[in-house]
Amino acid sequence: MLEKYRNLGLSFLVVILGLFGIYLVSGISPYIMLKSIIISAFGSIYGLSETLTKSIPLMLCGLGLSLSFRSSIWNIGAEGQLLMGAIGATWIALYVMPNAPKLILIPMMFIVGAICGGIWALIPAILKVKFNLNEIIVSLMLNYIAIEFVNYLIYGPWKSPYEWGFPYSTKFPISAQLPRILDTRIHYPTLILALVLAIFIYIILYKSKLGYEIRVIGDNIDAARYAGLDIRKIIILVLILSGGLAGLAGVGEVAGIHHRLRVASGISSGYGYTAVIVAWLGRLNPFLIVFVSFLFGGLLVGGDAIQVSLGLPGATINFINGLILIFVLVQSFSKIRLYSTKKGAER
């Protein structure tokens, strides 16, 4: 128990020291800074709508990652899987069936986007089960390949003839654009999809045989092996699902926000990476992840505010995110240790 409090104290101390550092450098009190973040992210209808918009890709990626992290498969490739989803959606919207009615086109974009994200995650899965390659490295590296693939498409075969040689795809037809709530940017079909999937993943994880197997593998892979579980099959399945969810996030971004394929940094401002923190902060629990995505969306939205209204450097919010990550790390390490000792005591 003492251990736990010390870790908690330590992580608080890290955060406080960090904020104090910002104070020393900028002369702006963290109280004002945090107030400004919270008010701008949650204090107005506009702020809330932007926070919600930002939380959609975080939710989908975070939910996907929770499945993989729960089975101790470290998929760091949500960013690339998201981009592949965006590519799949663009392919359907512009080249496969641009004239299809909305009710067919949009579901097809989501389905193909999920398949593309899933295939992208299948690569590290197969390399892991066949050659025992580390999935962290493979999935991370595939992010860069996905970024270059997006670049290849928009500078090459998919470059629009109507954009003066700039690297954009042609704009999606109206039937491929997701509806939004009033004049906000909340593309609600993706949001509803994310919420439904959160329930679905909760059921998979905690109410199904597959979920049980995922948790056994995650907790003790040797035990899973002795129990005769088909670990390879589950690894592949988990990564496909994980990538598919990230792919859906990519579909939502291009079909709901940008309405075209553009440079990778224009589609995702690192949602796939932020979702790693989101999944851990949400303790890999689907419902908590939905909630944490909302909070984190707020942090990202509020981060603009401290730059714009307080004149802090743009990197300040990354600094705060980093502090949160350290906080989470210290906390989860203490949790893992506690968890194993408790288990030992029960036995």
């Binding site: 409090y5 010390r6 104290g9 330590l10 608080f12 101390l13 406080i16 020291l17 904020l19 104090f20 104070y23 002369g27 702006i28 009190s29 963290p30 109280y31 004002i32 701008s40 506009y46 932007e50 270059e148 670049n151 290849y152 500078y155 090459g156 075969p157 003066w164 040689g165 700039f166 690297p167 004049d183 940017r185 971004e253 926000i257 940008h258 553009r262 440079v263 940094s265 224009g266 589609i267 995702s268 401002s269 939205v301 603009d304 505010a305 730059q307 714009v308 209204s309 307080l310 004149g311 450097p313 743009g314 990197a315």
Partner: protein
């Protein structure tokens, strides 16, 4: 004991933080102007140049309230920053300074019809959205003249950000300069697919050097290429470079020959004064497109302000003589100065994109005696023959 010490320390820190610092808000009615940058202000290239312009105007235009700028704004988030500036910070004018912000700026123009927006380097305009650009191709051409004179291997390198018309135009202008003084030299290109990526820029520069290039120009928002050139030059393998956007001579006193410098403040001042005098309003910007060059003093030749050529290179450039059809036998240094004054004249007495100019396949793109039109320059998607790289398709 240690725990208690940590606890006490935390409490003290918390108390010292919660004491709120006061910050005042000016009450005077001024034109509120916001800037959105794509890179970090400290990138020492594009965003830095815009920020320097903004800062230099703070004193010159006391009737403008310059809001704290937003830096490192991802293209995906531009809409939200514009919204914040307009709604929360009550900005009257917003400058969006990256071509990737184009859709976001147009969208904002529709959403806030009573505000004024200016988008840098784009082509979409609206009633309340104008565009502006300080164009550097003439300066690139002048640097090309010097590069052609200084290369010993007859291989000149170019580190390019994105293969878009702007960069292609600059590479062509640079290559036309090289061609004019050194018909044997070729220009090779490495693409970064990024505006700001010092580590890729270093790899690209070193790859060009290992291919034999001994003079490098670039489009990227950091002084990396100049730094690499300086390192090689100091090691006894001279690699000469040209700065880009900000004064970079100090990063390569032995390597940086000259460069492109920009004076965004000239354009910003003009725009803001016209907004103040109601020449520009939220209803008449449909055709307002700044395309300012040497003659408008929006750009300058040099690796540092007021230093068109690094003094270290004046003698070698004066030593290299070529035969010009108009000027006769002339040193490259004098040629650069002649061309510079010709292009500073209004109207220009010379333009590098004057035909006949062919592309790599031998097709005539600009007929003899004709100057390229704005649209031709703006759309450029072909390389001149002495560029040996290909445009990614």
């Amino acid at each position: 004991m240690k725990d208690r010490f940590l606890a006490v320390l935390s409490v003290i820190l918390v108390i010292s933080l919660i004491v709120p610092t006061a910050y005042g808000i000016g009450a005077e009615k001024k034109l509120r102007v916001a800037f959105i940058y794509v890179g970090p202000i400290g990138d020492y290239g594009w965003s830095h140049a815009h920020e320097m312009a903004r800062q230099s105007l703070i004193k010159k235009l006391p009737w403008v309230e310059f809001l704290p700028p937003a830096e490192s704004v991802p293209e995906a988030d531009a809409v939200r920053f514009i919204d914040r500036f307009v709604r929360e910070e009550k900005a009257d004018v917003v400058f969006t300074t990256s071509f990737g912000y184009m859709d976001a700026t147009i969208e904002a123009g529709k959403k806030y019809p009573d505000k004024i927006f200016f988008h840098c380097s784009g082509y979409s305009r609206a009633k309340n959205v104008g565009t502006y650009f300080a164009e550097l191709y003439q300066v690139y051409y002048l640097n090309g003249l010097m590069a052609g004179a200084l290369t010993k291997t007859n291989k000149v390198g170019y580190v390019g950000a994105h293969p878009i018309p702007e960069v292609i135009r600059h590479i062509n202008a640079f290559a036309l300069g090289v061609q004019e003084v050194n018909p044997k030299a070729t220009v090779d290109v490495r693409w970064l697919f990024s505006w700001y990526d010092p580590s890729k820029a270093r790899m690209a520069a070193e790859s060009l050097i290992s291919d034999g290039c001994d003079v490098l120009a670039f489009t990227e928002d950091s002084p990396t290429v100049v730094t690499v050139g300086e390192e090689y030059t100091k090691k006894g393998k001279p690699v000469y470079t040209f700065g880009h956007y900000s004064p970079m001579q100090k990063y390569g006193p032995n390597s940086c020959v000259s460069g492109q410098l920009v004076h965004w403040e000239v354009i910003y001042k003009d725009i803001l004064e016209k907004i103040r005098r109601k020449v520009y309003t939220n209803t008449n910007l449909e055709n307002v497109d700044y395309w300012w060059l040497l003659k408008e003093k929006a750009v300058e030749l040099g690796g540092d302000f007021g230093v068109p050529v690094n003094p270290r290179f004046i003698t070698p450039l004066k030593g290299k003589k070529i035969l010009d059809p108009v000027f006769g036998k002339i040193s490259v240094y004098d040629l650069v100065m002649k061309r510079l004054s010709q292009m500073k004249a209004n109207p220009e007495k010379f333009d590098p994109f004057t035909g006949p100019i062919k592309d790599q396949t031998g097709k005539v793109r600009i007929e003899a005696g004709r100057r390229a039109t704005h649209d031709e320059l703006w759309n450029m998607d072909w390389f001149v023959p002495n560029v040996i790289a290909k445009i990614p398709k």
